[in-house]
Protein backbone atom coordinates (compact mmCIF):
# COMPACT_ATOMS: atom_id res chain seq x y z
CA UNK A 1 0.00 0.00 0.00
CA UNK A 2 1.44 3.39 -0.95
CA UNK A 3 1.91 5.93 1.82
CA UNK A 4 -1.17 7.85 3.06
CA UNK A 5 -1.13 10.87 5.38
CA UNK A 6 1.49 10.83 8.12
CA UNK A 7 1.57 13.35 10.96
CA UNK A 8 4.53 13.17 13.34
CA UNK A 9 5.02 15.11 16.57
CA UNK A 10 2.89 17.98 15.31
CA UNK A 11 2.83 21.09 17.46
CA UNK A 12 0.73 24.15 16.69
CA UNK A 13 0.71 27.40 18.63
CA UNK A 14 -1.70 30.26 17.93
CA UNK A 15 -1.42 33.63 19.68
CA UNK A 16 0.82 32.13 22.33
CA UNK A 17 -1.69 29.38 23.07
CA UNK A 18 -0.82 25.75 22.33
CA UNK A 19 -3.62 24.36 20.17
CA UNK A 20 -1.99 21.02 19.33
CA UNK A 21 0.71 20.03 21.90
CA UNK A 22 2.11 16.88 20.30
CA UNK A 23 0.15 14.88 17.76
CA UNK A 24 1.09 11.76 15.84
CA UNK A 25 -1.33 9.96 13.56
CA UNK A 26 -1.43 7.96 10.37
CA UNK A 27 -4.25 7.87 7.83
CA UNK A 28 -4.44 4.89 5.50
CA UNK A 29 -5.22 5.24 1.84
CA UNK A 30 -8.62 4.22 0.54
CA UNK A 31 -10.24 4.62 3.93
CA UNK A 32 -12.82 6.89 5.50
CA UNK A 33 -11.25 8.24 8.63
CA UNK A 34 -13.33 10.18 11.11
CA UNK A 35 -11.99 12.99 13.24
CA UNK A 36 -14.37 13.26 16.14
CA UNK A 37 -14.40 15.68 18.97
CA UNK A 38 -16.19 18.63 20.48
CA UNK A 39 -15.87 22.07 18.97
CA UNK A 40 -12.48 23.52 19.89
CA UNK A 41 -10.75 20.13 20.03
CA UNK A 42 -8.45 20.99 17.12
CA UNK A 43 -10.20 19.19 14.24
CA UNK A 44 -10.12 22.13 11.86
CA UNK A 45 -6.54 23.02 12.80
CA UNK A 46 -5.36 19.49 12.02
CA UNK A 47 -7.18 19.54 8.70
CA UNK A 48 -5.76 22.95 7.80
CA UNK A 49 -2.26 21.71 8.50
CA UNK A 50 -2.72 18.65 6.28
CA UNK A 51 -3.90 20.93 3.47
CA UNK A 52 -0.84 23.09 4.11
CA UNK A 53 -2.41 26.44 5.06
CA UNK A 54 -1.62 26.24 8.77
CA UNK A 55 1.73 27.45 10.09
CA UNK A 56 3.16 24.76 12.35
CA UNK A 57 5.55 25.18 15.28
CA UNK A 58 7.15 21.73 15.17
CA UNK A 59 6.78 18.26 13.70
CA UNK A 60 6.13 17.10 10.18
CA UNK A 61 3.19 16.21 7.93
CA UNK A 62 3.47 14.27 4.71
CA UNK A 63 0.72 13.48 2.23
CA UNK A 64 1.43 10.58 -0.11
CA UNK A 65 5.09 10.89 0.90
CA UNK A 66 5.25 14.61 0.02
CA UNK A 67 5.54 17.47 2.47
CA UNK A 68 2.10 18.98 3.19
CA UNK A 69 1.45 22.12 1.16
CA UNK A 70 3.91 21.24 -1.61
CA UNK A 71 3.04 22.15 -5.16
CA UNK A 72 2.56 18.63 -6.49
CA UNK A 73 -0.24 18.04 -4.00
CA UNK A 74 -2.37 20.96 -5.16
CA UNK A 75 -4.35 18.98 -7.72
CA UNK A 76 -4.56 15.89 -5.50
CA UNK A 77 -6.36 17.27 -2.43
CA UNK A 78 -9.96 18.41 -2.24
CA UNK A 79 -10.75 20.63 0.74
CA UNK A 80 -14.14 21.44 2.16
CA UNK A 81 -14.17 24.21 4.76
CA UNK A 82 -16.81 24.77 7.40
CA UNK A 83 -17.61 28.28 6.23
CA UNK A 84 -18.56 27.24 2.70
CA UNK A 85 -15.90 29.14 0.76
CA UNK A 86 -17.79 29.92 -2.39
CA UNK A 87 -18.59 33.15 -4.22
CA UNK A 88 -22.08 34.04 -3.07
CA UNK A 89 -22.48 36.60 -5.87
CA UNK A 90 -22.02 33.94 -8.56
CA UNK A 91 -24.32 31.14 -9.71
CA UNK A 92 -23.52 27.51 -8.88
CA UNK A 93 -22.39 26.95 -12.42
CA UNK A 94 -20.17 30.04 -12.45
CA UNK A 95 -18.59 29.02 -9.14
CA UNK A 96 -17.76 25.54 -10.38
CA UNK A 97 -16.60 26.74 -13.78
CA UNK A 98 -14.10 29.04 -12.12
CA UNK A 99 -12.64 26.36 -9.87
CA UNK A 100 -12.60 23.96 -12.84
CA UNK A 101 -10.63 26.50 -14.88
CA UNK A 102 -8.06 26.85 -12.11
CA UNK A 103 -7.72 23.06 -11.91
CA UNK A 104 -7.66 22.64 -15.69
CA UNK A 105 -10.84 20.56 -15.63
CA UNK A 106 -13.42 20.33 -18.39
CA UNK A 107 -17.04 21.45 -18.50
CA UNK A 108 -18.04 17.79 -18.25
CA UNK A 109 -16.48 17.51 -14.81
CA UNK A 110 -18.48 20.55 -13.70
CA UNK A 111 -21.75 18.83 -14.55
CA UNK A 112 -20.49 15.60 -13.07
CA UNK A 113 -19.94 17.10 -9.61
CA UNK A 114 -23.21 19.06 -9.79
CA UNK A 115 -24.94 15.72 -10.31
CA UNK A 116 -23.00 14.11 -7.44
CA UNK A 117 -24.20 16.67 -4.90
CA UNK A 118 -27.67 16.87 -6.44
CA UNK A 119 -27.54 20.55 -7.41
CA UNK A 120 -28.17 20.20 -11.15
CA UNK A 121 -31.59 21.79 -10.88
CA UNK A 122 -30.12 24.77 -8.98
CA UNK A 123 -27.19 25.33 -11.30
CA UNK A 124 -28.35 28.74 -12.57
CA UNK A 125 -29.20 29.98 -9.08
CA UNK A 126 -27.06 32.59 -7.32
CA UNK A 127 -25.20 31.03 -4.41
CA UNK A 128 -26.49 33.80 -2.11
CA UNK A 129 -30.04 32.55 -2.69
CA UNK A 130 -29.20 28.93 -1.80
CA UNK A 131 -30.12 27.44 1.56
CA UNK A 132 -27.35 26.63 4.04
CA UNK A 133 -27.39 22.97 3.09
CA UNK A 134 -27.29 23.75 -0.62
CA UNK A 135 -24.35 26.08 -0.10
CA UNK A 136 -22.50 23.34 1.75
CA UNK A 137 -23.18 20.97 -1.13
CA UNK A 138 -21.91 23.51 -3.63
CA UNK A 139 -18.71 23.87 -1.61
CA UNK A 140 -18.46 20.09 -1.50
CA UNK A 141 -18.84 20.00 -5.29
CA UNK A 142 -15.86 22.36 -5.66
CA UNK A 143 -13.85 20.01 -3.44
CA UNK A 144 -14.77 17.04 -5.62
CA UNK A 145 -13.68 18.72 -8.86
CA UNK A 146 -10.77 17.01 -10.54
CA UNK A 147 -11.38 13.75 -8.62
CA UNK A 148 -8.77 14.40 -5.92
CA UNK A 149 -7.20 11.38 -4.23
CA UNK A 150 -7.49 12.87 -0.77
CA UNK A 151 -10.61 14.62 0.48
CA UNK A 152 -10.41 16.71 3.61
CA UNK A 153 -13.98 17.43 4.65
CA UNK A 154 -14.56 19.65 7.67
CA UNK A 155 -18.02 18.87 9.03
CA UNK A 156 -19.58 18.33 5.61
CA UNK A 157 -22.94 17.07 6.85
CA UNK A 158 -23.77 19.71 9.46
CA UNK A 159 -27.30 21.02 9.08
CA UNK A 160 -28.26 18.68 6.24
CA UNK A 161 -31.50 16.75 6.24
CA UNK A 162 -31.19 13.05 7.12
CA UNK A 163 -31.96 11.79 3.61
CA UNK A 164 -29.29 13.97 2.10
CA UNK A 165 -26.87 13.02 4.85
CA UNK A 166 -27.37 9.35 4.05
CA UNK A 167 -26.86 10.07 0.33
CA UNK A 168 -23.64 11.92 1.00
CA UNK A 169 -22.30 9.12 3.20
CA UNK A 170 -23.12 6.70 0.38
CA UNK A 171 -21.15 8.95 -1.95
CA UNK A 172 -18.21 9.01 0.51
CA UNK A 173 -18.19 5.21 0.64
CA UNK A 174 -18.32 5.01 -3.14
CA UNK A 175 -15.30 7.31 -3.34
CA UNK A 176 -13.42 5.25 -0.75
CA UNK A 177 -14.19 2.10 -2.76
CA UNK A 178 -12.56 3.80 -5.74
CA UNK A 179 -9.41 4.14 -3.65
CA UNK A 180 -9.84 7.73 -2.46
CA UNK A 181 -8.85 8.66 1.05
CA UNK A 182 -11.32 10.70 3.09
CA UNK A 183 -10.73 12.51 6.33
CA UNK A 184 -14.06 13.69 7.70
CA UNK A 185 -14.57 15.68 10.87
CA UNK A 186 -17.73 15.76 12.89
CA UNK A 187 -18.88 16.69 16.35
CA UNK A 188 -21.88 14.40 16.00
CA UNK A 189 -20.89 11.10 17.53
CA UNK A 190 -23.50 9.06 15.66
CA UNK A 191 -21.66 9.70 12.41
CA UNK A 192 -18.74 7.72 13.79
CA UNK A 193 -20.28 4.38 12.86
CA UNK A 194 -20.09 5.26 9.20
CA UNK A 195 -16.29 5.62 9.25
CA UNK A 196 -13.74 2.87 8.69
CA UNK A 197 -11.62 4.15 11.53
CA UNK A 198 -11.75 6.96 14.03
CA UNK A 199 -9.70 9.35 16.06
CA UNK A 200 -11.36 10.80 19.11
CA UNK A 201 -9.97 14.23 19.92
CA UNK A 202 -10.11 16.51 22.91
CA UNK A 203 -8.01 19.63 23.61
CA UNK A 204 -5.71 18.90 20.68
CA UNK A 205 -4.91 15.39 21.92
CA UNK A 206 -5.95 12.00 20.60
CA UNK A 207 -7.99 10.23 23.27
CA UNK A 208 -8.24 7.00 21.32
CA UNK A 209 -8.06 5.59 17.80
CA UNK A 210 -9.36 2.49 16.06
CA UNK A 211 -12.39 1.09 14.26
CA UNK A 212 -15.78 2.05 15.70
CA UNK A 213 -16.26 -1.54 16.91
CA UNK A 214 -12.86 -1.69 18.62
CA UNK A 215 -13.55 1.54 20.48
CA UNK A 216 -16.96 0.34 21.62
CA UNK A 217 -15.58 -3.01 22.75
CA UNK A 218 -12.86 -1.31 24.78
CA UNK A 219 -15.40 0.87 26.57
CA UNK A 220 -17.88 -1.96 26.82
CA UNK A 221 -20.74 0.02 25.32
CA UNK A 222 -22.80 0.33 22.17
CA UNK A 223 -22.80 4.07 21.83
CA UNK A 224 -20.01 6.31 20.63
CA UNK A 225 -21.16 9.09 22.95
CA UNK A 226 -20.60 6.74 25.90
CA UNK A 227 -17.18 5.74 24.55
CA UNK A 228 -16.16 9.38 24.52
CA UNK A 229 -17.44 10.02 28.03
CA UNK A 230 -15.74 6.98 29.49
CA UNK A 231 -12.45 7.96 27.84
CA UNK A 232 -12.63 11.47 29.25
CA UNK A 233 -13.47 10.19 32.72
CA UNK A 234 -10.51 7.81 32.71
CA UNK A 235 -8.13 10.76 32.32
Amino acid sequence: MPEGVRISDLKIIRDGKTIIPDLTMYIDRGKIVGLLGPSGSGKTTIMRSIVGVQAIAAGSITVFGREAGSKVLRTRIGYFTQSASIYTDLTCLENLRYFARILGQSEISVHEVLELVDLTKNKKQLASSLSGGERARLALATALLGRPELLILDEPTVGLDPVLRRDLWNLFHKLADQGKTLLISSHVMDEADRCDSLFLLRDGRILAGGTPQELKDQANTDEMEAVFISLVEQL
Binding site: R14, D15, V51, G52, V53, Q54, A55, G69, K71, R74, T75, I77, Y79, T81, S83, S85, I86, Y87, D89, L90, E94, Y98, F99, R101, I102, L103, G104, L126, T142
Partner: protein, 242 residues
Protein backbone atom coordinates in the same frame (compact mmCIF):
# COMPACT_ATOMS: atom_id res chain seq x y z
CA UNK B 1 2.35 31.55 -15.64
CA UNK B 2 -0.93 30.40 -17.06
CA UNK B 3 -3.12 32.63 -19.22
CA UNK B 4 -6.03 30.26 -18.55
CA UNK B 5 -5.88 30.86 -14.80
CA UNK B 6 -5.34 34.63 -15.10
CA UNK B 7 -8.13 35.06 -17.61
CA UNK B 8 -10.32 32.63 -15.67
CA UNK B 9 -9.91 34.74 -12.54
CA UNK B 10 -10.63 37.93 -14.47
CA UNK B 11 -13.77 36.41 -16.00
CA UNK B 12 -14.95 35.28 -12.59
CA UNK B 13 -14.54 38.82 -11.17
CA UNK B 14 -16.30 40.36 -14.17
CA UNK B 15 -19.16 37.89 -13.71
CA UNK B 16 -19.42 38.98 -10.07
CA UNK B 17 -19.61 42.60 -11.25
CA UNK B 18 -22.23 41.70 -13.84
CA UNK B 19 -24.46 40.31 -11.10
CA UNK B 20 -24.17 43.66 -9.35
CA UNK B 21 -25.63 46.20 -11.82
CA UNK B 22 -25.91 48.89 -9.16
CA UNK B 23 -22.14 48.92 -8.66
CA UNK B 24 -21.59 49.15 -12.41
CA UNK B 25 -24.04 52.05 -12.65
CA UNK B 26 -22.36 53.88 -9.77
CA UNK B 27 -18.90 53.26 -11.22
CA UNK B 28 -19.84 54.88 -14.53
CA UNK B 29 -22.41 57.45 -13.47
CA UNK B 30 -20.73 58.90 -10.38
CA UNK B 31 -17.70 60.38 -12.21
CA UNK B 32 -19.94 61.58 -15.08
CA UNK B 33 -22.23 63.27 -12.59
CA UNK B 34 -19.28 64.90 -10.79
CA UNK B 35 -17.93 66.28 -14.07
CA UNK B 36 -21.35 67.65 -14.97
CA UNK B 37 -21.72 69.36 -11.59
CA UNK B 38 -18.24 70.81 -12.00
CA UNK B 39 -19.24 72.26 -15.36
CA UNK B 40 -22.21 74.14 -13.92
CA UNK B 41 -20.45 75.17 -10.71
CA UNK B 42 -18.02 77.10 -12.91
CA UNK B 43 -20.65 78.32 -15.37
CA UNK B 44 -19.52 81.93 -14.96
CA UNK B 45 -15.82 81.04 -14.95
CA UNK B 46 -15.42 78.73 -17.97
CA UNK B 47 -11.63 79.13 -17.87
CA UNK B 48 -11.48 77.61 -14.39
CA UNK B 49 -13.59 74.66 -15.55
CA UNK B 50 -11.16 74.05 -18.41
CA UNK B 51 -8.23 73.99 -16.00
CA UNK B 52 -9.74 71.92 -13.21
CA UNK B 53 -11.83 69.49 -15.25
CA UNK B 54 -8.91 68.00 -17.15
CA UNK B 55 -7.05 67.23 -13.93
CA UNK B 56 -10.09 65.78 -12.21
CA UNK B 57 -10.86 63.66 -15.27
CA UNK B 58 -8.27 61.18 -14.09
CA UNK B 59 -8.77 61.67 -10.36
CA UNK B 60 -12.45 60.68 -10.16
CA UNK B 61 -12.01 57.27 -11.84
CA UNK B 62 -8.95 56.71 -9.69
CA UNK B 63 -10.89 57.22 -6.47
CA UNK B 64 -13.72 54.95 -7.61
CA UNK B 65 -11.37 52.18 -8.76
CA UNK B 66 -9.42 52.43 -5.52
CA UNK B 67 -12.56 51.85 -3.46
CA UNK B 68 -13.88 49.02 -5.59
CA UNK B 69 -10.63 47.10 -5.73
CA UNK B 70 -9.63 47.55 -2.11
CA UNK B 71 -13.00 46.36 -0.83
CA UNK B 72 -13.26 43.63 -3.50
CA UNK B 73 -9.85 42.17 -2.72
CA UNK B 74 -10.40 42.44 1.01
CA UNK B 75 -13.68 40.57 0.68
CA UNK B 76 -11.84 37.74 -1.01
CA UNK B 77 -9.25 37.68 1.74
CA UNK B 78 -11.77 37.62 4.58
CA UNK B 79 -14.43 35.31 3.10
CA UNK B 80 -12.12 32.30 2.96
CA UNK B 81 -12.25 32.03 -0.82
CA UNK B 82 -8.68 33.27 -1.12
CA UNK B 83 -7.37 30.57 1.20
CA UNK B 84 -9.49 28.06 -0.68
CA UNK B 85 -7.96 29.22 -3.96
CA UNK B 86 -4.36 29.28 -2.88
CA UNK B 87 -4.37 25.57 -2.08
CA UNK B 88 -5.18 25.00 -5.76
CA UNK B 89 -2.67 25.24 -8.59
CA UNK B 90 -2.87 29.04 -9.00
CA UNK B 91 0.09 31.26 -8.19
CA UNK B 92 -0.25 34.46 -6.19
CA UNK B 93 0.89 36.50 -9.17
CA UNK B 94 -1.69 34.84 -11.44
CA UNK B 95 -4.36 35.69 -8.90
CA UNK B 96 -3.31 39.36 -8.69
CA UNK B 97 -2.97 39.63 -12.46
CA UNK B 98 -6.48 38.21 -12.78
CA UNK B 99 -7.71 41.00 -10.52
CA UNK B 100 -5.68 43.58 -12.42
CA UNK B 101 -7.09 42.37 -15.70
CA UNK B 102 -10.73 42.43 -14.59
CA UNK B 103 -10.56 45.79 -12.86
CA UNK B 104 -8.29 47.07 -15.63
CA UNK B 105 -11.07 46.40 -18.14
CA UNK B 106 -13.55 48.14 -15.83
CA UNK B 107 -11.15 51.09 -15.46
CA UNK B 108 -10.75 51.30 -19.21
CA UNK B 109 -14.49 51.47 -19.85
CA UNK B 110 -15.07 53.94 -17.04
CA UNK B 111 -12.24 56.32 -17.97
CA UNK B 112 -13.21 56.24 -21.65
CA UNK B 113 -16.84 57.11 -20.95
CA UNK B 114 -16.05 59.92 -18.50
CA UNK B 115 -13.45 61.42 -20.84
CA UNK B 116 -15.80 61.24 -23.81
CA UNK B 117 -18.57 62.98 -21.91
CA UNK B 118 -16.19 65.70 -20.69
CA UNK B 119 -14.62 66.29 -24.10
CA UNK B 120 -17.96 66.04 -25.93
CA UNK B 121 -21.17 67.40 -24.39
CA UNK B 122 -19.45 69.22 -21.52
CA UNK B 123 -17.22 71.10 -23.94
CA UNK B 124 -13.84 70.53 -22.31
CA UNK B 125 -11.16 71.90 -24.61
CA UNK B 126 -7.49 71.10 -24.37
CA UNK B 127 -4.53 72.19 -26.48
CA UNK B 128 -3.01 68.71 -26.66
CA UNK B 129 -4.30 65.39 -27.95
CA UNK B 130 -7.69 64.21 -26.70
CA UNK B 131 -6.66 60.59 -27.11
CA UNK B 132 -3.67 61.28 -24.88
CA UNK B 133 -5.95 62.73 -22.23
CA UNK B 134 -8.09 59.57 -22.30
CA UNK B 135 -4.90 57.53 -21.94
CA UNK B 136 -3.90 59.53 -18.88
CA UNK B 137 -7.36 58.97 -17.35
CA UNK B 138 -7.07 55.21 -17.97
CA UNK B 139 -3.62 55.22 -16.38
CA UNK B 140 -5.01 57.04 -13.34
CA UNK B 141 -7.82 54.51 -12.98
CA UNK B 142 -5.32 51.64 -13.26
CA UNK B 143 -3.16 53.29 -10.64
CA UNK B 144 -6.15 53.55 -8.30
CA UNK B 145 -6.77 49.85 -8.88
CA UNK B 146 -3.16 48.85 -8.11
CA UNK B 147 -3.02 50.98 -4.95
CA UNK B 148 -6.38 49.53 -3.91
CA UNK B 149 -5.18 45.92 -4.27
CA UNK B 150 -1.98 46.72 -2.39
CA UNK B 151 -3.48 48.54 0.61
CA UNK B 152 -6.23 45.96 1.05
CA UNK B 153 -3.57 43.72 2.57
CA UNK B 154 -3.13 46.21 5.42
CA UNK B 155 -6.83 46.29 6.19
CA UNK B 156 -8.62 43.71 8.29
CA UNK B 157 -12.12 45.08 7.83
CA UNK B 158 -13.99 46.98 5.15
CA UNK B 159 -14.15 49.98 7.50
CA UNK B 160 -10.37 50.10 7.53
CA UNK B 161 -10.09 49.59 3.77
CA UNK B 162 -12.31 52.60 3.10
CA UNK B 163 -10.30 54.74 5.56
CA UNK B 164 -7.22 54.18 3.41
CA UNK B 165 -8.74 56.50 0.81
CA UNK B 166 -8.11 59.68 2.85
CA UNK B 167 -4.97 58.17 4.37
CA UNK B 168 -3.23 57.09 1.17
CA UNK B 169 -4.74 59.03 -1.71
CA UNK B 170 -5.49 62.46 -0.25
CA UNK B 171 -1.88 63.27 0.75
CA UNK B 172 -0.89 62.39 -2.80
CA UNK B 173 -3.58 64.68 -4.15
CA UNK B 174 -2.34 67.57 -2.00
CA UNK B 175 1.28 67.03 -3.00
CA UNK B 176 0.72 66.18 -6.67
CA UNK B 177 0.80 69.77 -7.92
CA UNK B 178 -2.92 69.77 -8.62
CA UNK B 179 -3.72 72.51 -6.10
CA UNK B 180 -0.40 74.29 -5.85
CA UNK B 181 2.41 74.08 -8.42
CA UNK B 182 5.09 71.82 -7.00
CA UNK B 183 7.69 74.49 -7.60
CA UNK B 184 6.16 76.71 -4.94
CA UNK B 185 6.03 74.01 -2.26
CA UNK B 186 8.58 73.77 0.57
CA UNK B 187 11.47 71.70 -0.75
CA UNK B 188 10.91 68.82 1.66
CA UNK B 189 7.34 68.38 0.35
CA UNK B 190 8.53 68.66 -3.23
CA UNK B 191 11.08 65.92 -2.63
CA UNK B 192 8.42 63.67 -1.09
CA UNK B 193 6.13 64.30 -4.05
CA UNK B 194 8.90 63.07 -6.37
CA UNK B 195 8.29 59.60 -4.98
CA UNK B 196 4.49 59.57 -5.27
CA UNK B 197 2.81 58.13 -8.35
CA UNK B 198 0.00 60.67 -8.51
CA UNK B 199 2.55 63.43 -9.12
CA UNK B 200 3.33 61.92 -12.51
CA UNK B 201 -0.32 61.43 -13.40
CA UNK B 202 -1.05 65.09 -12.72
CA UNK B 203 2.12 66.13 -14.53
CA UNK B 204 1.05 64.17 -17.61
CA UNK B 205 -2.42 65.74 -17.53
CA UNK B 206 -1.02 69.25 -17.33
CA UNK B 207 1.30 68.59 -20.26
CA UNK B 208 -1.56 67.28 -22.38
CA UNK B 209 -3.77 70.24 -21.44
CA UNK B 210 -1.23 72.83 -22.61
CA UNK B 211 -0.08 70.63 -25.46
CA UNK B 212 3.57 71.01 -24.55
CA UNK B 213 6.21 68.55 -23.37
CA UNK B 214 6.52 64.79 -23.68
CA UNK B 215 4.53 62.47 -21.43
CA UNK B 216 6.72 59.44 -22.16
CA UNK B 217 8.69 59.75 -18.94
CA UNK B 218 5.50 60.20 -16.88
CA UNK B 219 3.95 57.12 -18.47
CA UNK B 220 7.08 55.05 -17.88
CA UNK B 221 7.21 55.99 -14.21
CA UNK B 222 3.47 55.33 -13.82
CA UNK B 223 3.88 51.91 -15.44
CA UNK B 224 6.72 51.16 -13.05
CA UNK B 225 4.57 52.09 -10.05
CA UNK B 226 1.71 50.03 -11.46
CA UNK B 227 3.72 46.83 -11.82
CA UNK B 228 5.60 47.45 -8.57
CA UNK B 229 2.35 47.79 -6.63
CA UNK B 230 0.85 44.69 -8.26
CA UNK B 231 3.97 42.66 -7.46
CA UNK B 232 3.89 43.96 -3.88
CA UNK B 233 0.19 43.03 -3.71
CA UNK B 234 1.02 39.46 -4.78
CA UNK B 235 3.81 39.35 -2.21
CA UNK B 236 1.43 40.18 0.65
CA UNK B 237 -0.80 37.17 -0.07
CA UNK B 238 0.04 34.32 2.27
CA UNK B 239 -0.67 30.67 1.68
CA UNK B 240 0.04 29.81 5.28
CA UNK B 241 -1.43 31.61 8.27
CA UNK B 242 -1.26 31.25 11.99
Amino acid sequence: MSIRRIWGTARRILSQLRHDPRTIALMILAPVLLMTILKYVYQNQPMVFQRVAASLLGIFPMLVMFLITSVGTLRERTSGTLERLLILPITKLEFILGYAKAFGIAALIQATIVSSVALGPLGLKIAGSQIMLIFVAIFDALLGMAIGIFVSSFAKTEFQAVQFLPAVLFPQLLLSGLLVPRGSMPSILRIISDYLPLTYAVDATQKVVVGQGSVTRDFLILALFLFGLLAAGAFTLKRKTK
